[in-house]
Amino acid sequence: MARPKNLRKIENPPQIKGYQQVGGKNTQDAVIINLEEYESIKLCDHLSLTQEEAAIKMGVSRPTLTRVYSTARKKVAEAFVLGKNIVFEGGKVYFDSDWYKCGNCNSLFNNYMHLSKPMCSLCGSLSITPIN
């Protein structure tokens, strides 16, 4: 089927694959932060949303958000305190794509491939404007 009910919505994937610790001993040790955990930190800490607002954005219940967010912070703390790398990986997520209007063929389309330089899915034009 299309997607399981408990799939979380992520606006954009992280720009990097993770973090590497500096100057520590066990340079291969890593904590895995999945993409829904990443998104919860982004929304709650970076964008300063309330947990309520973050839950709505991700399409999950408030208790689920609280649980995911708490796990995420524990993992960040573990990496900091124990000198581990952080790897962003996995999670039951899908990426919410952005809408654009094409200045050439006049159609609306979404950037479903999450390209950094999106082009019109129909005519291939680059003269496009984001809408929302």
């Binding site: 089927m1 299309a2 997607r3 799939l7 919505k9 399409g59 899908y94 990426f95 919410d96 794509s97 063929c105 006049n106 159609s107 609306l108 389309f109 979404n110 479903y112 491939m113 899915s121 129909l122 005519c123 291939g124």
Partner: protein, 108 residues
């Protein structure tokens, strides 16, 4: 790339259909092989979950992009998770022929 274009009738002079999941036909166009095929939408009259059923079907045909004049409100999440693109045509008088011409002029 494989395009699924909603169609009112099963020929290239037909207009693009209005409702994605309730479209009468899908014109499946492959811009590599230039092949065009009209497939009747057998899910158009089912009472519930027509959208997800159509997406599953089009996904099994390895569709990359769906072209329609309208999409249901809940369909975007499903298409995003399937990595299928959406194109909304502004003018519902646009014919399948015209849409294929636009795709053909694509610079790739």
């Amino acid at each position: 790339m494989k395009y699924a274009i909603t169609a009112k009738r099963d020929n290239i002079n037909s207009h693009c259909d209005i409702h994605f999941a309730r479209a009468s036909f899908f014109a499946i166009y492959d811009n590599q092989s230039k092949e065009i095929k009209f497939i009747e939408n057998e899910f158009r009259n089912i009472p519930e979950r027509a959208g997800p059923s159509v997406v599953k079907f089009l996904s099994s045909l390895k569709t990359n992009v769906i072209v329609s004049t309208e999409f249901g409100e809940k369909i975007k999440n499903i298409l995003d998770s399937e990595k299928i693109g959406m194109v909304i045509i502004n003018d519902n008088k646009t014919t399948i022929k015209k849409i294929i011409e636009i795709i053909e002029n694509k610079k790739e």
